[in-house]
């Protein structure tokens, strides 16, 4: 469907999104369009502005006190675990602390370098073809143990993202592990589901486009089949910086 050349459809979907009648897969798809299309996001904001005074007619109901107590406990000033996904602190931490450590870990084995003679990781793990092309690379580590768990790579011009788990036992019964691209600002974008072993995911566009502005990747624990909402719903299990290797 050539959606963008149809301003009337554009407007109708924006209205139905704001009203709430756009549902299910269509709503998720529309949210993806909104993230990529500023004009569409503005059309939605205008509709939300038109309709939101209606909420003024809803009878206010003071929530019970324990709701605020729970919010206060979780709204920590510095990088709360629950607020991890969108917190500025999380980004700073990832960008600074994690990148030096994990990027060294990541690149060292790849370089035939006198600085890294002790490298023991096998470079072949990072490229099924045995050669290393200009790629985006990430090693995701377990937040608790700091152990690297998942290696991810994608050639710059390729829309294929390759992953391999370093710990084959990462799968959790009845749950799925979802891989997310974490942009500098805005919501995480799902890259697909990963499982123990080795596999490939198809990116929505070549890696240069999909990962070029992505400083980090993360894996969250989701209901079987992946997040029902299009946004991470479960805890972040693994994360690590996504670096440009070329």
């Amino acid at each position: 469907m050539n959606f963008r050349n149809k301003p009337e459809l554009h407007e109708r979907l924006a209205a139905e999104y704001a009203l709430g009648t756009l549902r299910g897969a269509a709503r998720r798809r529309f949210e993806r369009w909104m993230r990529e299309d500023a004009a569409l996001a503005m059309a939605v904001a205008r509709w939300e502005t038109r309709l939101s005074p209606m909420a003024g007619a809803v009878q206010p109901v003071p929530p019970p006190a324990h709701v605020w107590r729970r919010i206060r406990e979780r709204a920590q000033p510095a990088g709360p675990s629950q607020g991890l996904w969108n917190s500025v602190g999380f980004w700073r931490n990832l960008g600074l602390a994690a990148s030096s450590m994990a990027a060294a870990l990541l690149v060292a084995p790849l370089l035939i370098s006198p600085q890294a003679p002790q490298a023991t990781q096998t470079p072949a793990a990072l490229s099924p073809a045995g050669t290393i092309v200009a790629s985006y690379l990430a090693i995701l580590s377990d937040a608790k143990t700091q152990k690297p768990v998942l290696v991810v790579s994608a050639g710059r011009k390729s829309d294929q993202l390759w992953f391999r788990t370093l710990d084959p036992a990462i799968q959790v019964a009845g749950k799925s592990l979802e891989l997310w691209a974490l942009p500098r600002s805005g919501a995480p974008k799902s890259l697909g589901l990963v499982a123990g072993g080795e596999g490939k995911l198809t990116l929505v566009a070549a890696a240069d486009e999909s990962l070029g502005e992505i400083p980090a990747l993360a894996v969250s624990l989701e209901p079987a089949g992946g997040s029902p909402t299009g946004a991470p719903t479960g805890p972040v299990l693994y994360s690590g910086p996504c670096v440009k290797y070329w």
Binding site: R12, A15, E16, A18, L19, G20, T21, R23, G24, R27, A41, M42, A45, E48, T49, R50, L51, S52, P53, M54, A55, G56, A57, V58, Q59, P60, V61, P62, P63, P64, H66, V67, W68, R70, I71, R72, R74, A75, P77, A78, P80, Q82, G83, W85, N86, S87, V88, G89, S185, G186, P223, P228, T229
Partner: protein, 186 residues
Amino acid sequence: MAADPLPAQLAALLAACARRDQAALARLYELTSAKLFGVALRIVRREDWAEDVLQECYLRIWNNAQDYRAGLAAPMTWMTSIVRNRCLDWLRRPKFEVPDADGSVAEATASDRPGPLAELERSKEAAGIAHCLQGLDAKQRQAIMLAFYDGLSHAELASHLREPLGTVKTWVRRGLIRLKTCLEAA
């Protein structure tokens, strides 16, 4: 009830939340939580669910406060949209019990009684939309109000209003177009 908080006051609190100022979050919660809890309760219809939604939404507001753009929407509009979107996601969850299975909520709200409209007209901010809702056909108004206040989908609207799906979709679509025209003329 206290007067509605001013948008500028809320915008300043959001800016302080973006700087991780917890006192600002506390104040924002104090000023807005009863309204947002009312909105959530109306859509998800269970107190414990509405509590979970509210908790998630304030954490989302806290963690995304830096994304708030004053030029795009008023603070209350932004926060209300976060809550309504989360409620609609909530209703999508597997194993969700059919809300209001006996239709009593829909009946109470679907009737064309003046309640919500009269309430709307009392608010200066909402006077425009109240007037324009009044100008719609009764069916269009009913469908739009049920969708907005109760989070009903097209299919749920059709079943509650006992009308074919296509008919209900048309009411919603035409109603929205007329609303926009009316609001822009005001």
